[in-house]
């Protein structure tokens, strides 16, 4: 087995030297090993005979691939990636818009809360002052009635007192007239007695 390999290898190396003889323009062979061909050099990649075919098909297939890529596949791929990019960007924009909205709502809520608090404070102050006023008014009214009642009572006391004093004078005159008539037997009129008492009082 190994011997046959060596034979092939030798044939391969010899090929270029002896191989100029067979027709070099011949096309379409190469199915059996290089040794049999000979004519175009032993090492396939250096076989200039195959160059035109390879270049020809390379140009065709490379050009075809370039057209397919640049006109069909890559734009499609770019569209897919662009779509995702846009979707992500749109979602982010939406998220930030929603966030702004939330912030605005929070601000609004806080503002109305502060407003309500201020409002409540105002109402409380107002109510407090109103109540204080009412209390004050009631108190002053009560004081007024009390003082008027007091004054009335005072006047009644002084009237009573004056009447009492009057009565005392009458009683004193009567008593004095009685006493005088008892002592002297003289009838003394009440008027005299009253005059006399008034004179005493002086």
């Amino acid at each position: 087995m190994s011997q046959s390999t060596i034979v092939v290898a030798e044939a391969t190396t010899e090929a270029p030297a002896e191989g100029e003889a067979p027709a070099s323009g011949e096309a379409g062979h190469t199915t059996e090993g290089t040794a049999a061909e000979g004519g175009h050099g032993g090492f396939p990649p250096m076989d200039a005979h195959t160059f035109p075919s390879q270049i020809f098909w390379l140009v065709i297939f490379f050009g075809l691939l370039y057209l397919l890529m640049s006109k069909v596949a890559l734009p499609k791929m770019a569209a897919v990636l662009d779509k995702r990019h846009k979707a992500i960007e749109g979602d982010l924009a939406k998220a930030s818009a929603l966030k702004h909205e939330t912030e605005a709502a929070i601000q609004h809520y806080e503002k109305s809360l502060a407003d309500a608090r201020a409002n409540a404070q105002g109402i409380a102050t107002e109510t407090r002052s109103k109540i204080a006023d009412e209390i004050e008014a009631e108190r002053s009214a009560l004081e007024k009635t009390l003082s008027s009642k007091l004054a009335e009572a005072d006047s009644r006391i002084s009237a009573t007192k004056a009447k009492a004093m009057q009565d005392v004078h009458e009683v004193a005159a009567e008593t004095a007239a009685e006493i005088v008539s008892e002592l002297t037997g003289h009838k003394v009129s009440k008027e005299h007695a009253a005059k006399a008492i008034a004179g005493l009082k002086g």
């Binding site: 290898a9 096309a27 199915t31 035109p52 075919s53 098909w57 990636l81």
Partner: protein, 252 residues
């Protein structure tokens, strides 16, 4: 059996249709052309299937397609900037074509399109020619200042310019040969180690035991070759970007 072990045989071209001739040149449809076509078909079918549903939340296939697209897109964006947009389809085509040609070559009995120097060199020459065309179209003759770095003393300027020209002209050579060499050497080495396994295996029990080491080697090399297949496609594409960058933005 000898053919199974000959590590060069896998690079042989066969005519599948033809022979056809154009202007005295043979352009028969070979196995190389077949696998170019398979690569083109696979790339197109996979990408179209990936983009077909266009789901907002991608499935497996769509994720692969998007990763593939964005990988190349980011590469072009990073190297070429905004102006590179026009070249994105081209770089994508180059990357995908080379990647699929390399990867298809990893299947047993499949032909590796990129293991032929004429294919890789054609791509490389095309890229560098495009750089020259785009450079002149964009900057006019001023683009040739690329070869005359500023801030260099006048005495050594001709020498530097000569080196710049040589380095520019060696680009297609290095670009094409790198890919070709990697694919060719990788496949030959794989075949050689796999051939050891077959040879030793046919020598009885001792040979079978002895073939374990090359078998392990072949497995490890297969993994390495998959990496190389991807890496070379990436290198080819990013160097295309870097060279195009010279055409778009003349730094010197």
């Amino acid at each position: 059996m000898a053919q199974g072990i000959d590590p060069i045989h896998q690079f042989q071209l066969h005519d599948l249709a033809g022979p056809w001739n154009i202007a005295g040149h043979e352009i028969s449809f070979t196995n190389s052309a077949l696998f170019m076509g398979i690569a083109v078909g696979l790339i197109t079918v996979i990408l179209l299937a990936a983009a077909a549903r266009g789901a907002l939340v991608p499935g497996r296939l769509q994720s692969v397609g998007e990763m593939w697209y964005e990988f190349v897109h980011n590469m072009v964006q990073n190297v070429l900037g905004h102006e590179g947009k026009a070249f994105f389809p081209l770089v994508f085509t180059i990357f995908s074509f080379v990647l699929f040609a390399n990867m298809l070559g990893m299947f047993p009995y499949f032909f590796t399109v990129t293991s032929h120097v004429v294919v890789t060199a054609s791509l490389a020459v095309f890229v560098v020619a495009l750089v020259v065309v785009v450079g002149i179209a964009k900057h006019g003759l001023g683009w040739f200042k690329l070869f005359v770095p500023s801030g260099v003393p006048l005495v050594i300027l001709p020498f530097i310019s000569l080196i710049e020209v040589i380095s520019f002209l060696s680009r297609p050579v290095s670009l094409g040969l790198r890919l070709f060499g990697n694919m060719l050497a990788g496949h030959i080495v794989l075949k050689v180690f796999a051939g050891f396994v077959v040879l030793l295996g046919s020598m009885g029990l001792g040979g079978i035991i002895g073939s374990i080491a090359p078998l392990g080697m072949a497995v490890a090399l297969t993994a390495l070759e998959f990496l190389v297949a991807f890496l070379q496609a990436f290198v080819f594409a990013i160097l295309t970007c870097v060279y195009l960058n010279d055409a778009l933005h003349t730094h010197h």
